[in-house]
């Protein structure tokens, strides 16, 4: 029944009528603190076959707007104004029955997190089958296999009989794309479809999605936080900020000529578009050539950390007493120069975080040495290890998880001082105040609890705590990966300032090459536990020697847009 509907409307659609038009959309949520307007005056237009991206930080209303278009607002949300026109039909308050007709058939969706969007108790094939059935399409085993193989899943007959947990993240995302496009919808809503995946996988999947949608003539509404990715993939970009559309227009036009101050800041700080290391104010007079030799700032050839042939082997249990060895880190050697930033880059499973844990003396290496200031750390006695902890401090990825929710900010930052019995109560309080100043947080923050702070503020608190003991080396384990772009830029700037003021050495663990470019002097690229390439940041970025490094660099969204003069 729906099929005929679609054909009729399709036939009646002039090529120049928008497929989806959102006019003055307002969305309100009922919360315990009263009504909250999540979206105001949102508007966008998608022509048939066109790709439009909504860009914004978390809480900007970008996903909410997209969910409204498919009638999937959470229970406490509703459209409180404006229109959502699908092919001329206002669906903003359409009855549920009509929405069920449209979903799958006319509007498809590819959700964000491949881990949580497939039902763990049903086979992949079944989850495709029920989609086909619900939309009145043939759903035999052949049809299911065809849908899966078109999304790039080889051996699809066998795959259809497997459960989601037998799939890798990239494969699950392909399955979700297969489901989203299985009924050949005219509009596909792709909500951060690849943000949970490694960059190289991300690129493959986005390429495949682009190929499929252009073949089917499907229009795509792409939701993303990454301006580079949006500009690379979409014809038009809509920038949302705090529930409002602040700017929209053709992708390149918007990138080259941003008008709204928010867009300007976004373009400036988008890591994938930045091509230079952050320059600290007092170094700004210095020639770029000097930046390549930061050793000039520090004492010559002073390797504060020397990693020599490091190995970490885990035993994997294989049931019933059997086990096999798995080398998470395999023969890694590199030096870290005092006062500089060395980045370890790699995708998930590369062993980069294991290296960080071993440097922090939280895991024991199976083999190899870590020399700190020339001393083998494996030989440290407990009392020496305690002193070592004062000199090497970590900052972790998740700003929600790295602060004890029961401690207020004062206690959090004071804890290292108390543990190491430094000063008395008054001097400790003075130190905490100084530290808050250093990380640019108001002193009134002291009495607050972590849940009252934003992600960026928490990461500043984590930095203050790490600085409390005046360490020499700070290990940043994905320290900015969970933050919104603008906040990320602020925290990176703060880290750069602190480095130049305090002479800190950073070991920066990240999956994000764009961030590396902004902060690191030296890069170590890791793949599957091995070091594949090391060198100065500029050398590695300008002339990568290894295929894997090249693939990583190419996979940075917006990498091709990094050359402003030619584009202009």
């Amino acid at each position: 029944m729906t099929t005929s509907d679609v054909t009729i409307t399709e036939a009646g659609t002039p090529a120049d009528r928008p497929l989806l038009e959102i006019r003055d959309l307002a969305i309100t949520f009922n919360t315990s603190n009263g009504e909250v307007k999540a979206v105001r005056n949102a508007h966008l237009t998608i022509m048939p076959g066109e790709t439009v991206a909504i860009v914004g930080e978390s809480g900007s209303g970008k996903s909410t707007t997209a969910l409204a278009a498919i009638g999937l607002l959470p229970g406490n949300g509703r459209v409180s104004g404006g229109q959502i026109l699908l092919d001329g039909e206002d669906i903003s308050h359409a009855p549920e029955k009509r929405m069920i007709e449209l979903r799958g058939n006319t509007i498809g969706m590819v959700p964000q997190d491949p881990m949580s969007n497939l039902n763990p108790v049903w086979k992949i094939g079944y989850q495709v089958k029920e989609t086909l059935q619900a939309n009145g399409r043939p759903s035999g085993p052949e049809d299911i296999a065809k849908v899966l193989s078109e999304a790039g899943l080889p051996d699809s007959h066998r795959r259809a009989k497997q459960y989601p947990h037998e799939f890798s993240g990239g494969m699950r995302q392909r399955a979700l794309i297969a489901i989203g496009l299985s009924c050949q919808p005219r509009l596909l809503i792709a909500d951060e479809p690849t943000s949970a995946l490694d960059v190289t996988v991300q690129r493959q999947i986005l390429d495949h999605l682009e190929g499929m949608t252009s073949e089917l003539g499907t229009a795509v509404l792409l939701i993303t936080h990454d301006l580079g990715l949006a500009a690379e993939r979409a014809d038009k970009v809509v920038v949302m900020y705090r529930g409002q559309v602040v700017e929209s227009g053709p992708s390149l036009e918007l990138l080259q000529n941003p008008q709204h101050p928010y867009t300007k800041r976004l373009v400036e700080s988008a890591p994938s578009l930045a091509s230079r290391r952050i320059q600290v104010a007092k170094e700004q007079g210095v020639e770029a050539a000097d930046l390549l030799a930061p050793a000039a700032v520090a004492r010559a050839a002073d390797n504060v950390l020397q990693i020599q042939d490091l190995r970490k082997v885990y035993k994997l249990r294989q049931g019933l007493g059997k086990s096999s060895d798995f080398a998470a880190v395999d023969g890694v050697s590199f030096d870290v120069l005092r006062g500089t930033t060395t980045a370890i880059v790699g995708e998930s499973g590369s062993g980069k975080s294991t290296v960080a844990k071993m440097v922090l003396q939280l895991e024991k290496p199976t083999d190899g040495k870590i020399l700190f200031d020339g001393v083998d750390t494996s030989l440290l006695k407990p009392s020496e290890l305690f002193k070592f902890r004062r000199r090497v401090q970590p900052i972790f990825q998740d700003p929600y998880g790295s602060l004890d929710p029961m401690y207020n900010i004062f206690r959090t930052i004071e804890e290292p001082l108390r543990v190491h019995k430094i000063g008395n109560k008054a001097s400790r309080e003075k130190k905490v105040r100084e530290l808050l100043d250093q990380v640019a947080l108001p002193q009134s923050t002291m009495q607050r609890y972590p849940n009252e702070l934003s992600g960026g503020q928490r990461q500043r608190v984590a930095i203050a705590r790490a600085l409390a003991l005046d360490p020499e080396v700070i290990i940043c384990d994905e320290a900015v990966s969970a933050l919104d772009v603008l906040v990320q830029a602020q925290v990176l700037n703060l880290l750069a300032d602190l480095q130049s003021n305090l002479g800190l050495t950073y070991l920066f663990i990240t999956h994000d090459l764009a961030v590396v470019r902004q902060i690191a002097d030296h890069v170590c690229v890791m793949e599957k536990g091995r070091l594949v390439e090391t060198g100065s940041t500029d050398d590695v970025f300008d002339a990568p020697q290894q295929e894997y490094t090249q693939a990583l660099l190419n996979a940075i969204p917006g990498a091709k847009l990094m050359l402003p003069p030619e584009v202009a």
Partner: protein
């Protein structure tokens, strides 16, 4: 051909979409710790207010029964009053033995509350200690404690209590304390399991790793960081178990293997009322109501606490 396509470059008026500071610290509200936040939520919940008031009243009755009745519960039992109807000064009527039902209900409170409170304290001491050690250290400590818990778990509470009460020691020394010991012996694994789970959940949090890299020792991080964060579900379960243990005591007394007949308790009274249930149901219903209301109060309190302490309901 794309003439009608929307290719205009739109910019929102800046006055309507001003840039806000990315990171402003709230200064308008008082700081909120987890407990302060929970208290703020609890204060507004009728379920909490009602249960807290009822529990206060029950505690006062348990400790000062003399405040509520002038009738001594056992002295004035006269067979002449057997199964007597309510009369002035005796609002609930009389038992088969001619004792004042109201006075017995009031004086029966103490035994139930004592069993509940002390059994929960015992379960907390054993269960939380073993559970926390198992969850935090893992390895063989965990295996031993888990297997031990499994063994007790396979013994349903009432059945286990049946066997234990057959032991000469418990049979000859029947008292409030033996009942408490039996309950603690059989009920600790549930608390240990819950604590273990909560501790494991917290143990892997980044702030524990951060504390360890600050030089905090393992045992210190368990006491100062892990346990306080694992406390909420423990408190909820303990409150609920207080009610459950009171029911268990009454059930055992009802079966004749709980408190000795000489101790006044609701379970014993209900058990004694069986014979006259058809002729004088009041003798059964009043102690039963007192028992149910007490248990309900604790279970309601636990329910209210669960909602208030639920980390999911906290803003991030």
């Amino acid at each position: 051909m794309k003439s009608n396509q929307d290719t205009t470059h739109f910019v929102a008026p800046i006055e309507e979409t001003p840039l806000l500071a990315t990171d402003a610290v709230k200064t308008d509200q008082a700081p909120l710790s987890l407990w302060a936040d929970a208290w703020r939520k609890l204060r507004r919940r009728p379920l909490f207010i009602v249960s807290a008031v009822m529990i206060l009243v029950i505690l006062v009755v348990a400790f000062f029964p003399g405040l509520f009745t002038q009738t001594a519960p056992n002295d004035n039992c006269q067979l002449a009053n057997s199964d007597g109807a309510p009369s002035a000064g005796h609002p609930f009527g009389f038992t088969f033995q001619g004792c004042d039902v109201y006075a017995r209900v009031i004086y029966g409170t103490q035994a139930s509350v004592m069993v509940g409170v002390f059994a929960v304290i015992g379960v907390l001491i054993i269960g939380v200690t073993l559970g926390a050690l198992a969850g935090f250290y893992g390895g063989w400590v965990d295996s031993v404690i888990a297997r031990l818990g499994d063994i007790f778990f396979a013994l349903p509470l009432v059945l286990g209590a049946l066997v234990v009460t057959q032991l000469p020691f418990f049979r000859e020394n029947k008292s409030v304390w033996t009942v408490i010991m039996i309950i603690v012996l059989l009920a600790w694994p549930q608390m240990a399991r819950l604590t273990r789970g909560a501790v494991i959940e917290v143990r892997n949090a980044d702030f524990i790793t951060a504390a360890r890299s600050l030089g905090v020792s393992r045992i210190q991080s368990l006491i100062k960081h892990v346990l306080p964060n694992a406390l909420a579900p423990i408190i909820v379960l303990a409150t609920m178990e207080l009610g459950v243990f009171i029911v268990l005591e009454a059930t055992l007394s009802f079966l004749g293997i709980g408190l000795p007949g000489s101790i006044m308790s609701w379970g014993n009274d209900i058990s004694a009322a069986q014979s006259s249930i058809r002729t004088n149901p009041a003798v059964l219903l009043y102690p039963a109501a007192a028992l149910s209301i007490t248990v309900l109060s604790f279970i309601m309190l636990g329910d209210a606490l669960r909602d208030a302490l639920d980390p999911k309901s906290r803003q991030r």
